[in-house]
């Protein structure tokens, strides 16, 4: 399992097509992990690009951390990871909160990023939308329980359920993640956001609560284009291939 040690944490990553001249670095959202890209979206991009996926700290197989989930720290760690991997410049893609990390990185280190793609990132001011992650997490748990409701045999340990539950407990109760996300509520009002110079692709679900945030970003970022795909906030799972080919076209031209 490839793991890179950073100053304050350890990061699990996966690479595809290493050696290709251009690199796409992909950032997942809160309460998920790199697998959201790994199976469908990344292999399509790897037909042409070097693709690097990593688990944010506290997620997937990266190290646990009780603090530092704000955009400043998360974008610091993104840059530190790039330095460790010897990546001078990358195309950067982020989903949900990972898209906010990507935007923050573009604002702070514009020279290190070529093109930018943002998928379903919410406006942090709308805390209701930010809570989608929580609601979605609960749905996952409910779905899991229902899925097994018909089984008469007791499943040994319900290991998967326990794993997920443990992650939510760690992140939501034992870390500063909620406060760190809340402190970002004025992020869309930041003047630097409107100054992002990069060519930017915004991909949103046409039935998503976050779609208005996509429109706001489209208005603020001068060199942006907004495309809609069928689905809600969960479009990387619902429509991976339209997203993969949109990204491939965008980064490849």
């Amino acid at each position: 399992m490839p793991v890179v040690s950073l100053q304050h944490t350890s990061i699990h990553l996966q690479e595809m097509n290493a050696g290709a001249p251009e690199t796409i670095l992909m950032v997942h959202g809160m309460f998920t992990n790199l697998s959201i890209y790994y199976f469908n979206i990344a292999p399509v991009l790897a037909q042409r690009f070097h693709v690097v996926l990593y688990d944010l700290k506290g997620h997937g197989m990266s190290g646990r951390s009780s603090q530092g989930y704000d955009l400043q720290t998360m974008s610091d760690e993104l840059l530190e990871l790039m330095d460790k991997l010897g990546l001078d410049t990358v195309h950067l893609a982020g989903y949900s909160y990972g898209g906010l990390i990507a935007l923050k990185a573009a604002m702070r280190f514009p020279g290190r990023i070529n093109k930018l793609a943002i998928i379903e990132s919410p406006n942090p001011y709308e805390q209701e939308t930010m809570r989608i992650a929580d609601i979605y997490s609960k749905e996952l748990l409910v779905h899991f329980i229902n899925d097994h409701a018909g089984d008469t045999a007791v499943r040994p340990g319900k290991r998967q359920l326990q794993r997920r539950h443990r992650m939510y407990e760690q992140l939501l109760k034992e870390s500063s993640i909620r406060q760190d996300m809340q402190q970002e509520r004025d992020f869309f009002s930041s003047p630097q956001l409107a100054g992002i110079p990069h060519e930017t692709l915004l991909i949103y679900g046409n039935a998503s609560d976050c779609m208005f945030a996509g429109q706001q970003l489209h208005q603020k970022i001068s060199r942006s284009q907004l495309i809609l795909v069928n689905g809600d906030h969960n479009i990387p799972v619902q429509e991976p291939f339209p997203i993969a080919y949109a990204l491939k076209d965008f980064f490849g031209t």
């Binding site: 399992m1 697998s35 290991r159 799972v237």
Partner: protein, 99 residues
């Protein structure tokens, strides 16, 4: 003397044994002891593996069987539902077809 397969070609049983070892490494010996791992075992329903564990499993398959197996490429043609419903027999057959 009646060997029909080439000496280098692994049987489905041998491949399955390797895959079982990978599953043990990914989810841990203590959980595997409670499971009956067969070719019909699916990742999520039977083995209770989640998607990041399937990533770790895929990585081991690629590292072990080499670059002749485009395991990720094979998976990438499936949607996530198909991937989580895959069973070990499907994977064994795919690997054998590549060797």
């Amino acid at each position: 003397m009646d060997q029909l397969t080439q000496p280098t070609q692994l049987s489905e049983e041998a491949i399955l044994e390797v895959l079982k070892q990978f599953i043990t490494e990914v989810i841990g010996q203590e959980f595997v002891e409670d499971l009956d791992i067969t070719p019909q075992s699916s990742f999520t329903k039977d083995l209770e593996m989640d998607s990041i564990e399937i990533v770790a499993f895929s990585e081991k398959v690629k590292a072990h069987f080499g670059k002749d197996i485009d395991f990720t490429g094979w998976l990438s043609n499936m949607d996530l539902d198909e991937i989580i419903n895959l069973n070990l027999g499907d994977i064994t057959k795919y690997i054998q077809s590549c060797l």
